[in-house]
């Protein structure tokens, strides 16, 4: 496919950098993962395939490393093998602490001297420069450090009772992995000119990068950031014109009739209730924002007798933006995702199958190449030394 003929060597562990290499494999690259004796520590982390034990038991490892080949190298004993392995490679993806390089007498500069066109992507918590470059961190602590966790629980009525929160699932480190793949392909385009760059991607930088809404506020002079809700400020999102409505069967929807023409159709769908005619209550966006919470209660009288799917269907039928808050089970059954063959099947060493997310992009080239969907994926087994 797009990266056909590109050889990638991964000397990395955990989630972010291995996900980068996985995405390069998804795009057609040939990826070899170098593992230490005993394997990537992610092999020891669940969720595990039911009934499986040992180095190939982690389903999460399987998702992050599907489509690669694995080799086990004891670089403690034979550090020179790393350079040998890079012969013919276009990209090295690495996430090793500086001490790991130093202790083995390995250096990025030496690799660059030997392979001038090689793209080297270092993906580390704080990056390869700056006073904290060797400081300890996890994605959880970095999300707190970079304002992401602060913003995740903002605004709230009682900040002291509602602490900051990190992201869902593994979305943080995996998003960093997407940025890593983006940086690596930039490197590939640069290397076409002859010299491969050394790319230094810090997870910390990534989390701060996506907090640019804060930079907009900061640029406009805001310095006293607070998580406390200013009364009547609504949700802040979309100027407070986004509502959450409880539905029948314990479901929920979010709806955002933010433009006047959308609001008019929404009110008609609700059967033109008497409250909607009160201009002081909801005549314009100003009143709707001010009475956000009371409006929500009024709309709930309509939504609470219907399922979230039904509310969504009826709202979208009149071009009002509305979606349910999905549960994982609902996602697995989602007709839109199924129609687009979004899900892949991940197969365990013993043939057990799980449904996992696939690529979010449908791509077709003018010579009829396409990105694959609804794939059957396998993850590399750990080979003995």
């Amino acid at each position: 496919m797009l990266l056909k003929g590109t050889r990638v060597v991964e000397w990395a562990e955990g989630l972010s950098a291995p996900f980068t290499a996985r995405l390069l494999a998804d795009l057609g690259a040939d990826v070899v993962k170098i593992e230490r004796p005993g394997g990537d520590p992610l092999r020891q982390k669940g969720p595990f395939w039911p009934g499986h034990t040992g180095a190939d038991a982690s389903a999460l490892f399987g998702y992050v490393n599907a489509g690669k080949r694995s080799v086990t190298l004891d670089l403690d004993r034979e550090p020179g093998r790393l350079a040998e392995f890079l012969s013919g490679a276009a990209i090295l993806v690495e996430s090793q602490p500086a001490a790991t390089w130093d202790q083995r007498n390995l250096s990025i500069a030496a690799l660059q001297a030997r392979y001038p066109a090689l793209v080297i992507l270092s993906l580390t918590p704080f990056g390869r420069s700056g006073p904290l470059r060797n400081a300890p961190a996890t994605d959880f602590t970095l999300q707190h450090r970079a304002a992401f966790a602060y913003n995740m629980a903002r605004p709230v009525d009682e900040p002291e009772a509602r602490g900051p929160l990190a992201g869902a699932d593994h979305e943080g480190p995996l998003a960093v992995g997407v940025a890593g793949a983006l940086a690596a392909v930039w490197g590939l385009l640069v290397a076409a000119g002859g010299a491969g760059p050394h790319i230094d991607l810090a997870s910390h930088d990534f989390y701060a990068h996506i907090a640019f809404e804060g930079l907009a506020d900061w640029s406009n002079g805001e310095r006293a950031f607070s998580r406390r809700r200013v009364k009547r400020e609504g949700t802040e999102a979309a100027g407070g014109l986004t509502w959450i409505l409880p539905c029948a069967d314990a479901g929920w929807v979010m709806v955002s009739p933010r433009e006047q023409h959308q609001w008019d159709r929404w009110i008609e769908l609700l059967g033109n209730p008497a409250w909607a005619a009160d201009a002081a209550f909801c005549g314009t966006r100003v009143e709707r924002r001010r009475n956000w919470f009371e409006l929500q209660a009024a709309m709930t009288e309509w939504s609470s007798y219907q399922s979230a799917e039904e509310v969504t269907r009826r709202a979208q039928a009149v071009s009002v933006a509305c979606f349910p808050i999905s549960t994982p089970d609902a996602l697995l059954r989602n007709a839109q995702l199924q129609h687009r063959q979004f899900f892949d099947r991940l197969v365990s060493p013993s043939g057990m199958e799980a449904t996992v997310p696939g690529l979010p992009i449908h791509l077709q080239t003018t010579s009829h190449g396409a990105l694959p969907h609804a794939r059957t994926l396998r993850s590399p087994s750990l080979e003995p030394v």
Binding site: S129, V185, V190, L215, S226, V253, I361, H362
Partner: protein, 399 residues
């Protein structure tokens, strides 16, 4: 190597591998603009198609200056057949089209891929939409905040509640994540085109780009093994670990202890060396997690978060004081890495998420004024004389 000087300083031509690539950018709000900003940072010429008739284009406040560096702005009315003709002429000399229109607008205004491909066969056409351009919901109206609910991530962060509190509806997530996927796909397609001459059509679903990062919840439900996995205040790997209340208003400290060394470090900072041997392994700490978390919470409650962070990092324990954006701007690490460079107008913007070994983080020119490249695009590129442009302006096709 050639050195190119721009608003943000010096760079080598090699760092701008998209030089000579022309991108026609119809996108607006966040995901598309962030994508094309990044392409511009790598050297592409971005022509942003706007209209002075649309209030949202004329208003350039909020995040606009941060998301629209490295672009030229041309004002062409896409709803006018004459404007569409001009755009078709621009497509003929462009390499990439980026759009996030609704499906209806695309066909109505003659800007869909089938038509543009006829004009420019090796075009890379990139469509980013809420749930994708195919499927039963392809016409659904979507916003990033709603997709954060639809993707399931909101429910993995916090329980749905009537005040939308602490469920990750803010901050924006789906939009910048979409931009990473979108820019990745475009660069890969450019690489492929340079190898083969092929054009490509890309249909990116913002919903799918968000769900793709939630594998554990889906794995657990698909395999029926219970639980949702990590999210919110549970990182799924630390014991003790979490976000702990410290002394002072809204003051919090995140701690993640996974290894024996980190545990010993935490115990030393808490002045509780006795605890090390009482819980010597990760397995034993996971078993006692609730009690250990309570112990850390008791300790943290009287601590100054800044000092505690300092001593924990010194002791090798992953820890961070929860910062607001004001704290981010004071962060010495981010400052050293130049993530938020100062533009010639004195305002800060955000650079590429990575740097190279010289510290370079992308070309960064200030965001354009509305229509400030009309002369370049209409005159230089399309060769329209002043009289023709005056006539088009009088008809309302441009401007």
């Amino acid at each position: 190597m050639d050195t190119i000087v721009t608003g943000s300083g010096h760079q080598h031509a090699a760092q701008l591998p998209l030089s000579g690539l022309r991108v026609l950018d119809f996108s607006w709000i966040i995901a598309g603009p962030l994508t094309t900003k990044m392409l511009g940072a790598m050297g592409a010429e971005i022509i942003k198609v706007e209209s002075s008739k649309r209030a949202e284009h004329a208003a350039r406040g909020g995040s606009y200056p941060l998301l629209n560096n490295n672009k030229r702005s041309v004002t062409i009315d896409i709803t006018h057949p004459g404007g569409q003709d001009l755009l078709h002429r621009l497509v003929r000399i462009s390499d990439v089209v980026v759009e996030n229109f609704s499906a209806k607008v695309l066909t109505k205004y003659r800007l869909g891929y089938p038509m543009l491909r006829e004009i420019r066969p090796d075009l890379i056409y990139v469509s980013a939409s809420g749930v994708g351009r195919t499927g039963p919901q392809k016409d659904a109206l979507a916003y990033g905040t709603l997709l954060q609910a639809y993707s399931g991530r909101a429910g993995l962060i916090g329980a749905p509640n009537l005040k939308l509190e602490a469920m990750g509806i803010l901050p924006i997530w789906t939009d910048p994540v979409t931009a990473m996927w979108e820019a990745l796909a475009i660069l890969a397609a450019v690489h492929h085109r340079r190898q083969t001459g092929d054009g490509a059509y890309l249909d990116l679903s913002m919903l799918e780009g968000t769900v793709a990062l939630l594998p554990e919840a889906l794995l657990r439900h698909s395999l029926d093994i219970g639980g949702n996995g990590p999210g919110g205040n549970d990182d799924g790997e630390s014991a003790p670990g979490g976000c702990f209340r410290c002394d002072g208003p809204d003051s919090w400290l995140a701690i993640a202890v996974r290894t024996d060394a980190e545990w010993a470090g935490l115990c030393a900072v808490m002045k509780r060396p006795d605890l090390v041997a009482a819980h010597p392994t990760a397995a034993s700490r996971h078993e006692a997690r609730q009690a250990l978390d309570a112990l850390v919470a008791d300790w943290a409650d009287t601590q100054n978060a800044e000092a505690a962070e300092h001593w924990l990092l010194e002791a090798g324990v992953p820890a961070a004081r929860t910062r607001s954006f004001a704290g981010v701007m004071e962060d010495e690490q981010l400052a050293a890495r130049g993530l938020f460079p100062v533009m010639p107008d004195g305002r800060r913007t955000v650079a590429l998420p990575w740097q190279d070994s010289t510290g370079w983080r992308g070309r960064l020119d200030p965001a354009p004024g509305l229509g400030d490249s009309n002369d370049y695009v209409l005159g230089e590129l399309l060769g329209l004389g002043q009289a023709e442009r005056d006539a088009l302006a009088a008809e309302g096709v441009i401007g």
